[in-house]
Symmetry: C2
Subunit: 107 residues, 2 copies
């Protein structure tokens, strides 16, 4: 059972897919057609990528007639930010431990 970090990292690991997400972040809501036009891959490929992004919670879709509009859900990046600061935190606390050790050695 993959956790939230797994899903996020794996989803963002593909360049094409990440480019789609970046574009939605930069330019806001876009239709599948608009996204396809600039993606360099076929429309079904884009649809599949958007599906993966949606499952990861990174985008929302909104249906309007024949068109589907996708938009980025920035909040979904939270676990990624958490993970990063957690890693930094571990690092820091190990550094603190070292500092403590050195202090005690100093006495």
């Amino acid at each position: 059972m993959p956790n939230a970090h797994d899903v996020l990292f794996r989803t963002l690991a593909d360049p094409t897919r990440r480019a789609l997400f970046e574009r939605l972040c930069r330019e806001g809501e876009q239709t599948v057609g608009a996204l396809t036009a600039q993606s360099g891959v076929s429309q079904p490929a884009v649809s599949k990528h958007l599906g993966v992004l949606r499952l990861a919670g990174l985008v929302r879709d909104r249906h309007e007639g024949r068109q589907t509009h996708y938009s980025a859900q920035l909040g979904a990046l939270a676990p990624l930010i958490d993970w990063t600061s957690q890693m930094a935190g571990f690092w820091q606390s190990r550094f603190d431990d070292l500092e403590d050790l050195l202090k005690r050695m100093d006495q």
Copy 2:
């Protein structure tokens, strides 16, 4: 030509590999043997993962006799942090644009 973001995301996308990195962040420098013991995969698999992490700049290796000690290089996470805040920035500026628009409509 994959950029820094590509390499980082793809490297951290694999759960086994990310677990190795997390462990090095938490517990500091470790030998390949120690890492293998807790990884659930074979020693060659661990070595391969460590090689990938090293190519991504996420770990350093230090040779000491027969043993190889690996340690996390937290600085390598910088592009990931940059990317995340860039996405947040795009989001924010689009929000600002919207605010501007609403303000101008208000006049």
